[in-house]
């Protein structure tokens, strides 16, 4: 099976401040994610997880390397061409409140991507928003509320509904449950599993909690200093009490195994 996302030799540099040399945040990273699969990116703060995600989302163009999505090389595309691809690759962020505008009602926050993409249908739109709320397990009446009236878990569900509005095929989940309480976290993770099974979504899942990665992901790529130091089956992660990502095996270093 051809992977949906194939990242090759990705490099991201940040300019050094005060005449210091540039920082190599992502250093020759390669991996693949197939439809219906979850690849976790694990590693300590500063290891390059979020920079990799930003490059996959083309929020920041990588300095070198290729991002193949559904048979097209994204870094070669110009802005108008990228705009056509972007709906298919959607982010869900860590901070459920910070990623929603405090001024928009929930229903407008979910409709916004459709409006921006010029796909808003004033007749069918409201029903679509209601359907998305239902999909993420929220009462349609919450559509009238604003983010501050919702719990963290409810806001994160809105963030997922908003991502789903664009009919994506890949979700980039950047620490989507790190800010949530344990019982709420379980509900949101279950929702993501159900969506993946139903819609065949691919997930690039950034998380530094080993127990969550072991449970939720299929494979894991462990980053350190901007490089993938190993790729392994998520189950092979050692449930180290510190939560640090440490695969038990060292025999699986090297290329990402395709499923």
């Amino acid at each position: 099976m051809t992977p949906l996302l194939h990242v090759r030799d990705l490099t991201v540099r940040y300019p050094g401040r005060n005449r210091r040399s540039p920082v190599l945040a992502v250093d020759g990273v390669s991996f693949e994610v197939s439809a219906g699969e979850t690849l976790a990116l694990a590693g300590a703060s500063g290891s390059g997880k979020s920079s990799t995600a930003a490059a996959v989302l083309l929020l920041r163009r990588p300095d070198s390397g290729e991002v193949w999505f559904d048979g097209r090389e994204l870094t070669a595309l110009d802005e108008p061409a990228l705009r056509a691809v972007r709906p298919a690759v959607q982010p869900v962020f860590q901070d459920p409140y910070g990623s929603l505008s405090p001024r928009l009602r929930i229903r407008d926050a979910i409709a916004e991507p459709l409006r921006v993409q010029g796909r808003w249908d004033p007749v069918a739109g409201p029903a679509r928003v209601a359907e998305l709320l239902d999909t993420v397990g929220l009462d349609a009446r919450l559509g009238d509320r604003r983010p501050h009236e919702l719990s963290g878990g409810q806001c994160q569900r809105v963030g997922i509904a908003r991502a789903l509005a664009s009919d994506p095929r890949l979700l980039v989940l950047d620490e989507p449950v790190s800010a949530l309480d344990p019982s709420v976290r379980a509900g949101v993770l279950n929702l993501l599993v159900e969506l993946q099974d139903r819609l065949g979504l691919a997930y690039l899942f950034i998380c530094h909690d080993t127990a969550v990665v072991r449970h939720f992901a299929h494979r894991v790529a462990v980053l350190s200093d901007g490089r993938i130091i190993r790729t392994a089956s998520a189950r092979s992660l050692h449930p180290h009490p510190s939560g640090a990502a440490r695969p038990r095996t060292t025999a699986t270093t090297g290329k990402a195994a395709t499923t």
Binding site: P182, A186, N190, H208, G243
Partner: protein, 344 residues
């Protein structure tokens, strides 16, 4: 239990806020909470967002929001603190009571060096010269494991990493060897390796200085590894209170069981779905006006008495208090009680 006299003793604590259109009604955010902390002991205050754990911590420190109305007793070394004037607290802060907040940047000044801020903390309590205060600051940074402390003391907070800032805040909170340290989610913003280092540091400090530690957290892993006893809060009330080993290994309250069940399993279970507690926590008003157990609407064991009568705390085992009518029916394996896949 340590057998030592409690350093801090909290009894029947209630915290209310004005409510309703006129503000004349009140809604209780914390109801009848009692616990104590002994010297050298770590008590974890566990609960989810809105359970009231941070509010309790603030009340103890005399830092409650101005509109909060409190009742009950908060005794620190036998002295009543509740209702004490701010000036009464001023003599306690730093010297006897200290706070380690979640967000280090909220207590560090961006325009002063870390060393100057630590030295100022020393001089706010002790009459010492600048050089001596400076030396104490460097020693404190060294104690919390900041390498090259003498040079680092000259750095500004933004030049520190998140983990270093949190260490600096711990150094500041403990520099005057307080009797009780209240740490409010001290590691939530840190990545796992740094989290372990910081918690290890707090645990080590109570061993060396004999301070009591009240650790506010929602992370049961942290509780399991770093606390002696645990108080589980739900919607402003105590659900379960006792030694960590007993409470986590054999929870007697369905809510505690649900929290434990919702953790990702150590070994694969064959299902990708996690057991989850149905529904969401009640609002302040719902919780305050519930006639029965506040957890009943979400509880798989809820029966008639649960909906009409508030459960009183009962001793399930030595030093292990549980507030639950159905405590005898909670299965040994928490996951048996909660199904997977229901949206929580």
């Amino acid at each position: 239990m340590t057998g030592r006299p409690p350093l801090l003793s909290v009894a029947d604590l209630r915290v209310a806020f004005p409510d309703g259109p006129t503000g004349r009604d009140v809604v209780h955010a914390v109801r009848d909470v009692s616990f104590d902390v002994s010297e050298g002991e770590v008590l974890a205050l566990v609960g989810e967002s809105g359970a009231g754990k941070s509010l309790i911590a603030r009340v103890l420190l005399g830092m409650a929001p101005p509109t909060a109305r409190t009742s009950g007793r908060v005794r620190f070394r036998g002295r009543e603190l509740l209702g004490a004037a701010r000036s009464g607290y001023a003599g306690l802060w730093g010297r006897h009571l200290a706070l380690v907040p979640q967000d280090a940047l909220s207590v560090l000044s961006p325009v002063h060096t870390v060393g100057d801020q630590l030295a100022a903390a020393v001089r706010s309590v002790r009459r010492v010269g600048r050089a001596e205060a400076r030396a104490a600051a460097v020693a404190a940074l060294d104690r919390v494991g900041i390498a090259d402390a003498a040079r680092r003391a000259g750095a500004y907070p933004h030049e520190f990493s998140g983990g270093m800032r949190q260490r600096a805040v711990i150094a500041m909170a403990t520099i005057n060897e307080p009797d009780l340290v209240v740490a409010d989610e001290p590691t939530t913003a840190l990545d796992p390796d740094v989290r372990e280092q910081v918690l290890g540091l707090l645990a080590a400090l109570r061993e060396t200085t004999g301070a009591g530690l009240l650790l506010v957290t929602h992370d049961l892993d942290v509780v399991a590894r770093h606390a002696d006893r645990v108080l589980v809060l739900y919607a402003g009330e105590v659900v379960e209170y006792g030694p960590v080993k007993r409470v986590l290994e054999r929870p007697r309250a369905p809510y505690t069981a649900g929290l434990l069940a919702s953790l990702p399993p150590g070994e694969p279970t064959g299902s990708r779905l996690l057991p989850a507690i149905d529904g969401s926590p009640p609002s302040l008003r719902e919780a305050a006006s519930a006639p029965g157990c506040v957890f009943a609407p979400r509880c798989p064991l809820a029966a008639d008495p649960c909906r009409t009568r508030r459960p009183a705390p009962v001793e399930a085992a030595a030093g292990h208090l549980v507030s639950c009518h159905r405590r005898a029916d909670v299965p040994e394996v928490p996951t048996q009680l909660f199904g997977a896949g229901e949206a929580g």
